[in-house]
Symmetry: none
């Protein structure tokens, strides 16, 4: 599974009413590395509103193909998935949620042409159109409100496709990666200095020193100071000592 499969996937929009939605779909696709858009009888296209909403993903609009029928838009495909908001468990399509859909789509895209079809904003796909599909994609929503915007549905599907494509790759540990590490001995030097200063300012003797230092160790160990941060902390301790002695 890999990223180069993403531009091969085809997104098909059937009879989209609002050209702005077509542009927003292009943008959602491009952010996630998808590229191929096919339009079946769009109400208005090309359209300035679509280009405006594409916001830099207009190359996907220029390359989009426009078709009279869904069959024409699906030419050459071997696995077709229809997005459906309705619960169609009673009918005989396999119903896939986004993550399993994405895995299967990528696995198949290595060998054959794959299309993901989205219906009209208000009425979705007709039964005739669903008959062209090998499976359905269902994006689970709140029970109270399942009015997912067209571009939002494409965004979720595209996001999961990208996640599936990246899944094999090793993800670097962002947190704490480029940070310069601090040796245990340096942390011990800091704790000794901290304990000394706490004694000097009269804070240590009013409590159980061992318990207090243990709590402070947990706090600073959790923060995992890097080298510049440890220098700042040591600098503050030294400044405190100077100020008290000069005071």
């Amino acid at each position: 599974m890999s990223l180069e499969l993403l531009p091969r996937l085809r997104v098909v929009l059937v009879e989209t009413s609002h050209p702005g939605n077509i542009g927003a779909v292009a943008r959602a696709m491009k952010t996630m590395g998808l590229a191929r858009l096919a339009l079946v009888e769009p109400k208005r296209f090309p359209c300035a509103e679509a280009t405006a909403m594409a916001a830099g993903a207009d190359d996907i609009l220029y390359d989009a193909t426009v078709h009279d029928t869904l069959d024409a838009a699906l030419a050459g495909t071997a696995w077709v998935v229809g997005a459906s908001a309705r619960d169609r468990r009673r009918v005989d399509w396999p119903v896939l949620e986004p993550a399993p859909f994405a895995s299967e789509a990528l696995a198949r895209a290595a060998d054959v042409e794959v299309a993901l079809v989205f219906g009209r904003e208000h009425s979705g796909l007709s039964n005739d159109e669903l008959d062209r599909c090998h499976a359905l994609l269902r994006i689970p929503t709140s029970a109270d409100y399942h009015s997912l915007n067209l571009a939002a549905a494409v965004q979720v599907a595209a996001w999961e496709l990208r996640e599936a494509a990246l899944a094999g790759a090793t993800r670097p540990d962002d947190a704490g990666r480029a940070r310069e590490s601090v040796a245990v001995a340096d942390m011990e030097g800091f704790y000794a200095h901290l304990e000394q200063v706490l004694a000097e300012v009269g804070y240590l003797d009013r409590r159980s020193p061992r318990l207090l230092m243990r709590r402070l160790r947990r706090l600073f160990n959790r923060a995992q100071p890097d080298r510049p941060e440890l220098n700042i902390l040591r600098g503050i301790l030294a400044a405190t000592q100077r100020a008290r002695r000069q005071g």
Copy 2:
């Protein structure tokens, strides 16, 4: 199942330019079961365009709170995550991708108030605003094109939150869980006190105060002190002031 945690999460939008985006965010939230929206200095709100784009999620707009400052919008929160498109690996926030973010947000939301902050459409969050955050959410995009629309970013985050809630996969975060939480306002009180003491011991003026305080904020936000720890830190600051004045 922890779906009941979703309506407790707070989505904060900072200085949104296009009211349509606010409506689209409300719709994205409601489809996934989120409910609480806070707006900081929106350019236009309320606005017919927002209501139109909300498409039935207008109850979220009616209940949205509007604030003069980010701090006001974050009142009562104890874990704040800022969405950031830029690669901030060089700085010292934990950077979370959507799925780990969602797990941790839900785990923490069981105990404390959690907020997810999105910045301006074109310029995101300022450094000052990022300083209020305990972690960053980064949604990986195509290397060629990372112009994720505001509502699309909220949709991906909300989708992953719902997935995590449905999975019941609230992976408990040992560091953050049973610990008594500290409100953002209390952390701000600590930072003000810390800055005061650093000025008194003569450490602040030898450096760039803003840069220094930013570094210290990152360090202590990373550690996420609990209530007893914050009391210890405040006690050390007070003891330092007394020692210097008596010295």
